[in-house]
Amino acid sequence: MDLAYSKEDEAFRKTVRTWLKANVPKKDKTLSDLPPNDPRRIQRAKDWQRRLYEAGYVALGWPKAYGGQGDSDIMRQTIVNEELVLARAPGLIGASGLTMLGPTLLQVGSEEQKQRYLPKVLTAEEIWCQGYSEPGSGSDLASLRTRAELVGDEFIVNGQKVWTSGAQFSDWMFCLVRTDPDAPKHRGISYILIDMKTPGITVRPLVQMTGDAGFNEVFFEDVRVPRENLVGELNQGWLVANATLFHERNMLGSTTRTQLMMQNLIRLARSHSRYGQPAAEDPIIRQQLADLTTGVEAMKYHSFRQLTDATKGRKPGIGAMVNKLVGTELNHDICALALEIMNSYAPLNRRASHVIDNGIWPYEFMFTLGLIIGGGTSQIQKNIISERGLGMPKAR
């Protein structure tokens, strides 16, 4: 065990940090007052990803042949993730292409598909959204019913997707569709790529409890998709999606974000007075703050451990299965305590006078609850841990 970084890694970190300091876009008041999906904001987000890509800091691990850096060093990838968070850089607009579609195509895509799609994922020239969930298929994703009938050289797609983040401004969707309605549910699904400009697609924003419209409903009416847009084999879409669905993402970036949130929470507790004294002097609040600190520290070293395992080529064990469950609940708990500290000030919206920290806490309090549900609810995570991790039998 040695927590010191190598000289090379330290030097790399310094280079990244210096670059980010000079290049992370400054907050632009005129832009941040626009709705989140305003074309000017989208363009700015694309420009940012492109700049980061050109500096060599996007998807380092992807092969050079498809525009990547061909740098398989997990430590360097992690350093970039971590520095992005520390520099408070905006998230990448092409994230689902980078983290979901990209790894899938690299693993099972055809050569033509890799050449055609991957470079533009990196440069943010094409933005991708994920078409998985449906109104009737949430936790039981494999029951999905959006139908894709193969007629000649085309799929004819009919149905509906929901919770589709970024569909309003996405160019493409990677989508799970039912291609064999008679097969057992896991064996009649295909993974196809749909051009969002195809006639027959309707995108309807879905306003979430925060008031933002980050999600959408997407409707398909006789949407024609070329057969060559099939990824992997016909009716093997469940396996294709799963090849990367449980791809354990390097979590160091997200634990760094949690650490920043925790620091902000302590700052809030020290500065905000409640019932006549700074919240941080209230013994109960102190206990709660320190308890969350132990949780944050645990996830930090938990991620260090997984990072070490990854650099040594060891398979992630049962420990990695708890990341989503523990991480999302922890973030939400941090926000919940912030609201408790703010008390009467907690419900104030962003534009209200006397609002604290620009209303970020109540917003995050709600947003993090969404993250507990999205991508596999906490209850589904517990099923995964107990069934795959502990070998406890499925119900029924």
Partner: protein, 375 residues
């Protein structure tokens, strides 16, 4: 950056698990519950032969010269097997006190004996006040013609009945940290009497130790300057107990999961019920992230990192809660059988409770974390 165990450490942990599965089965533990001293000299001798009692002791005194991280791996396995006996208090606490505080004569006298398992040590720290701070140390050491003499009472001294040497925290002057001293007292010194304090965790034994004009065999470090080492011993104890708790929690989880797979109700294994699966998953989600907390706290102690005390408190705060919560759920997953004396689960359940309170419960350590973090 390498936050993982070395091959040697993996090996140490695995061989410890194998050894303890053989030599310290639940039946063996059960037999020791009724032992007068809760101690098996034979097991202690075997552990000494493996070098465990001398794990921390420098090689020139007959030990292996390893660190607290290695010790933590061993203690994790001992927690898993709920090993009864003074190992943690002798081979970690008393031994470290001598390594850091002893002069060369004291080291020469005691370290080889502790390392070889021929002597057992313990730490006499708490008093009736149950305070962990310097003000809690009131046992008086007074200078007399023949040297210093002790008068007063220590409480909750682990395994005093089988110890050869006691590291005793005493007051040589004042009321604050200044004036606290650490002294060595031989167990058979005149005027020293012990009385067992019967408690529900029978894998651990604690005693009231009374001193009536008891001569000391020497100071560990300078007179009146013992607090710093005593504070370090508290950190060490926190890490050591956390490691024990980690192993115990893992074992309780494993036993509970195993039981639910074979126990059938409503014509199916109860492990197929989500209520129980989710309980088990919650146990995993507490134990897994707690493991690297113990590793880091041990590593920080070994490398004398600036945040070593904070890391020890974080580990102790977390593991105190995780172990008790895990054993509580493990008992429930067993249903009625888990509540019986006949079933072994209560060994872990009770040890979790002892570990929770020893050297500061979760709330005490959270308050320490708050202060370390500047609020």
């Amino acid at each position: 950056m390498d936050f993982g165990l070395s091959e040697e450490q993996d090996l140490l942990q695995h061989s410890a698990r194998e050894f303890l599965t053989q030599e310290c089965s639940p039946q063996f533990v059960r037999a020791l519950l009724d032992d007068e001293h809760g101690f098996s000299p034979e097991l202690h001798r075997k552990m000494a032969e493996l070098g465990w009692t001398g794990l921390l002791v420098p090689e020139k005194f007959g030990g292996l010269g390893l660190g607290l991280l290695d010790m933590a791996l061993l203690l994790e396995e001992m927690g898993r097997a709920v090993v009864p006996g003074p190992f943690l208090f002798s081979s970690a606490l008393a031994t470290f006190a001598l390594m850091r505080g002893g002069n060369s004569a004291q080291k020469k006298t005691w370290l080889p004996r502790l390392a070889s398992g021929n002597a057992i040590g313990t730490l006499a720290f708490l008093e009736a006040s149950d305070r962990l701070d310097a003000a809690g140390i009131t046992l008086k050491a007074r200078k007399k013609r023949d040297g210093y003499m002790l008068s007063g009472t220590k409480m909750f001294v682990p395994f005093a009945a089988v110890a050869d040497i006691l590291v005793v925290a005493v007051r040589t002057s004042g009321k604050s940290e200044k004036g606290v001293s650490l002294v060595l007292v031989e167990r058979d010194a005149p005027g020293l009497t012990i009385r067992p304090l019967d408690m529900f965790d029978r894998t651990r034994r604690v005693y009231e130790v009374r001193f009536k004009q008891v001569p000391i065999s020497g100071f560990l470090g300078k007179v009146g300057k013992g607090w710093k080492l005593l504070a370090q011993l508290q950190d060490l104890a926190c890490v050591a107990l956390s490691a024990d708790s980690l192993g115990g929690a893992q074992q309780a989880l494993d036993m509970a999961v195993e039981y639910t797979k074979v126990r059938e109700q409503f014509n199916r294994p109860i492990a197929s019920f989500q209520a129980l699966k989710h309980m088990a998953a919650e146990m995993v989600s507490e134990i897994e992230p707690a493991r690297p907390l113990v590793w880091y706290a041990a590593y920080a102690f070994d490398t004398r990192a600036k945040d070593a005390s904070r890391a020890a408190s974080i580990a102790k705060a977390r593991l105190s809660v995780v172990y008790t919560r895990t054993t509580n759920k493990a008992v429930q997953m067993h249903g009625g059988i888990g509540f019986t004396w006949e079933h072994d689960m209560h060994f872990w359940f009770k040890r979790a409770k002892w570990n929770e309170f020893a050297f500061g419960a979760a709330a005490y350590h959270r308050e320490r974390v708050a202060r370390f973090d500047g609020y």
